[in-house]
Symmetry: C2
Subunit: 359 residues, 2 copies
């Protein structure tokens, strides 16, 4: 393992740990992506999405691209949440315009009971990318590792791809909760091992994306999604070489469950734009930092409107002080159609306005 | 106007008005629909969806179909929320497998400023259907009239059809709030007139479907969706011949805003399955009745599981008493793939369990 350069900009880590910062740090979900022409160029050279994700050189290149354009306060590993079920042998493939699919979804008891935590060697390309990115970052900003949540992975694994109503996975959940718990427990073990290996490889913070937790009913969410994220939290390495590795959890559409989410042991909770940040801050108190929550569609507005909406988000959280932390982000991944100039306007607005709020 | 038969089963109306009932009444969003073979047969005879919706005989036939199969406690007019923008001249059409579209969406200032409240004569087929259904119901159960919310209609009117991210309509909202308010004010006036005409024609309760309110950011929802539903509430006839006409509002994904929604003057608030009914009941107190909130996917489980999930919803609301009302429903429209036997199991479970809870 190489020795990494010391961190020059630790604002993001400090905010996650609710320590004072000079300004509100920001990064964007899916910040390395199709809205950037340079990303599209690399993607074309790589030949396919998985060609890009499985090659550490390409993954490093696209991870760094948004940082060269914008003064973002964190990098996030370029990868896909479906690398884990792929390593479990489900056969990930992509159909142009249709999103990811699995050749062998978990449709019956036999398939479910055959599911195993994957050999992490199959995911070595991810850990290599983490180390290479960390080296090339050279301490500019921290590197975030990530995984899908046990439930969100299960959605794709049972449905065999994206879904509008989650009919297959929820039918299994209601009819055969035993099978669903078996998948989720396997996923939780795999996700924890996967994130720990990313931390070993150099990730300085980790995030769990529970993209589809918000599709679950109250009560069911707590039992089938939150519980397994809590299990991951318990199994996670939270320190490396004496340095805290903060963990962020994000359930899209999970605003109603914030109080419970804040109790699973994460350092920060991601929020989508339906949540009032000020109320959320009052509710969580000093338990966790908060991350979010601009509507990504605001980036289609003109620069004055973007600035006004950024200010609303910052004002809604209020003046940070010791013991509360805010990381600015979108409430969902950035749209592929976003004009890059809008991102520049947002980044400037977040830094300028949040600096002024601290004066 | 004919004189209608007196109501034999008023359980639904009583629950909306928070009066004591012998059991918890239920109906289903989209209860007249594609999951019923008899609906598909009528739809085929009608030739098209709009052929069905615009013909009062067909609309009456399909509205009554689910009541002949299941002991539902209310009928809901068979129609579509997009009849109103169609009457405004936007040119509604349907593409098989793609959902509704408009030939002339509101894409620029000129189109927006030309928008007018429609001549209600263009919607006469709806009011005729209401009266005919009411006659044929002959007092069995009450008839619900409905409309889309001003914001939800605006989504379709600006996007020109369904949307994943609401990019066009939200971009207009952020860049040209003046234009968006003009659309919403026009829609609110039209929706109120449309619902009042349904009440005149015989609707005994009305519901506003705010299907896309939950896509809005906190703060924006209150200004661009809730405010205009409140305006509709103010303009609505709430009594006819001395009988109260209850109004229900439903923002899908609006659980975080329940406190504000309960204050706009509706008799009841619809909730999706992400909301804890018990907490919701405590929050709204005696301001409104609540309607919901089973996940429609539960109807793909086996009868025992359906019964167990129905019981959870009823237990979550708790024992009704004078001053609080619960109408059982799904948290979203019933899926076209639902087995009708599942609906029968759910209806029996709701009636039996809720009767026993009152002993």
């Amino acid at each position: 393992m190489p020795e990494f350069a010391p961190l020059k900009n630790d604002t993001f880590i400090r905010a996650l740990l609710r320590q004072p910062t000079d300004y509100t740090p920001l990064w964007l979900m899916r910040q390395a992506g199709r809205y950037l022409p340079e990303y599209k160029a690399t993607r074309q050279r790589a030949g396919s999405f998985m060609g890009l994700a499985t090659n550490p050189d390409y993954a490093t290149e696209v991870t760094l691209q948004p940082l060269d354009r914008f003064a973002l306060d964190a990098a996030i590993l370029f990868s896909d949440i479906l690398t884990v079920p792929d390593a479990m042998g489900l056969g990930l493939y992509f159909v142009e315009g249709e999103g990811p699919k699995f050749e062998r979804p978990l449709r019956d008891e036999q398939a479910v009971m055959a599911l195993r935590v994957p050999d992490l060697e199959k995911l070595e390309y991810v850990f290599e990318a983490v180390t290479q990115i960390r080296i090339e970052l050279n301490g500019r900003v921290p590197l975030i590792g990530f995984s899908g949540s046990p439930w969100t992975l299960a959605c794709y694994m049972v449905e065999g791809g994206g879904s509008g109503d989650f009919r297959s996975v929820k039918t299994m959940l209601y009819n055969r909760p035993d099978l669903m718990h078996h998948i989720l427990q396997t996923n939780a073990t795999a996700v924890a091992a996967y994130l720990n290996a990313q931390i070993d490889a150099g990730a300085q913070a980790v995030m769990i994306f529970d993209t589809w937790g918000g599709a679950l009913a109250d009560g069911i969410y707590q039992e089938f999604s939150l519980r397994y994220m809590q299990d991951v939290m318990r199994k996670l390495k939270r320190e490396k070489n004496g340095v805290r590795i903060p963990a962020i959890v994000f359930t899209k559409g999970g605003g109603l469950w914030l109080n419970a989410i804040a109790d699973i042991g994460a350092d920060a909770v991601g929020l989508d734009w339906t949540v009032d940040l000020g109320k959320a801050r009052t509710l969580v108190g000093d338990r966790v930092a908060l991350q979010g929550n601009l509507d990504p569609v605001v980036l289609f507005a003109n620069p004055d409107q973007i600035r006004a909406e950024v200010k609303k988000v910052l004002d809604s959280f209020g003046k940070p002080h010791s013991g509360s932390g805010h990381v600015f982000n979108l409430g969902h991944g950035i749209s592929q159609f976003t004009p890059p100039e809008s991102v520049a306007a947002m980044v400037d607005a977040v830094h300028e306005i949040s600096r002024a709020m601290r004066l």
